[in-house]
Amino acid sequence: MNLIEVDNLSILNRFTGEFIVKNLNFHIKKHTCLGIVGESGSGKSMSMKAILGLLPSNLETTGCVRFGTVEMIHAEPETLRKIRSKHICLILQDAMTAFDPRLTIGKQIIETFCENMNYTVCEATEATLDILKKMMLHDPRLIMQSYPHQLSGGMLQRCMIGLAMALNPEVIIADEPTTGLDSINQRNVLDEFKRLRGEGMTLIFISHDLGVVRYLADAVLVMRQGRGIEYGEAAQLFANPVHPYSKYLLDTRKGLTKAFGELINKGATTSC
């Protein structure tokens, strides 16, 4: 059964008349992970924001997006808000600026719990400590009292992931969650997502990093300049890409990996 169905999604800039995304089509089955890949500016984040009704007013969305029985494009803002608060959780790209700089992290997470899950402050505090511990963050109490600028990108990213998980939605959309993180943090974040997937969460994973998508996705959508280039099962696509652009992406990535491998080997033989 398809949890989310996207048919002919297009995003149009009202003032310039140009299409940011044109005729995008994909479906997501329950308990699967869809990986969306493409270069920067290919419209990956925009499409997700369009589905959730988060685009600015100068952009017009057309097409049909169905989440269960709800039609998302023409839904009431209040309906969309309720969906965003409990059913589909979006994890943003830039963790450093995602939180209100004036409040401590703890207060912001507690506020989200109180609003979305109707917890009392006590319950929300407990829940916050819980997710911070689950995310392997040292000294959860200190983190709760910290301001966003005092924490690293990786820590903030994990707070966002933890929060999304704790809200127990049907779908989690993660928009480039590993961009800008160092490799150790990247690994931690990816392991979290792997665990989520193992527990049966439906995931949409956006990245321009093919290796990451390969690690996690069941199905892959390749996007370029606002259009869906290729869409299919991950294993199939990575083994035998059909479209020349997909081939190009994979070849470039393979080339990079190969060059990196050679460099490491050369270093290993010459350095000792």
Binding site: N13, F15, N58
Partner: protein
Amino acid sequence: MQVWQKLKQDKMALLSLGIIISIVVTGIFAPFLAPHDPLATNIKIKFAEASLSYPFGTDQLGRCILSRLIYGIRTTVFLSIVTMLLTITIGVSFGLIAGYLRGIVGEGILRFCDLLLSFPSEIMILAIVGMLGPGIGNVVMANIASKWAWYTRMIRSLVLEYSDENYIHFAKVAGYSNLYILCKHLFPAILGKVLVLATLDTGWVILNISALSFLGLGVQAPTPEWGMMLNEAKNIMTIRPSLMLAPGLAILIIVAACNFLGDSLRDTLDPKHNPIKAGMKL
């Protein structure tokens, strides 16, 4: 220049420029355009209604209001423009020196400006007018003295920003003299920004000069000046309130035009100028 091209598309900015230019031209040709001598009193026709020979009527001394308004352009507007030009000249000169030469001279100028800027401009103006006494020359000097330090700082930071550009380094390496670089490269680059600041400030200077004249500290009677005319109108408010309208509106129009032009210039010169935003504005 592409600035002019972009500006031409903004209808309101062109309108503002048109208004300013026509006011300035009217002031220049005042003797030909004004129907009467602005200083000629005629008690017999005081408080006359608007008529063909006296389009705006007469004031409490029988002087033609329209003529006083037109000649008032010379006092209010021209003096403000002169003030602005002098302020900019001084500010730019010191700013270029402070920014380009740095070292002791630059630091010294900067610290001095900081000290002056710690004085609020209203206080500075009152202080200088207080010391020198009322009079239009003193008011102009006071305005210049209160603003030049700000311009110096502003220009200096612009110069610092621009002198790090590669083409300046190249010119230095190629052996061009400092003065040459200052004049040929740096000055045109910062000219645009200076123009914007100047236009925006002209409105402020006009308000200041007319305010001081209103208080009686600037122009002395019977010279026609818009602020002074409002002062006179204040005294006969109960008898003839309509005298308050014309000078105030005149000030409003020219200051609004200057502000609008300054805003448009700033939007045009801003590298973040967004054609979409411009589209949304119109």
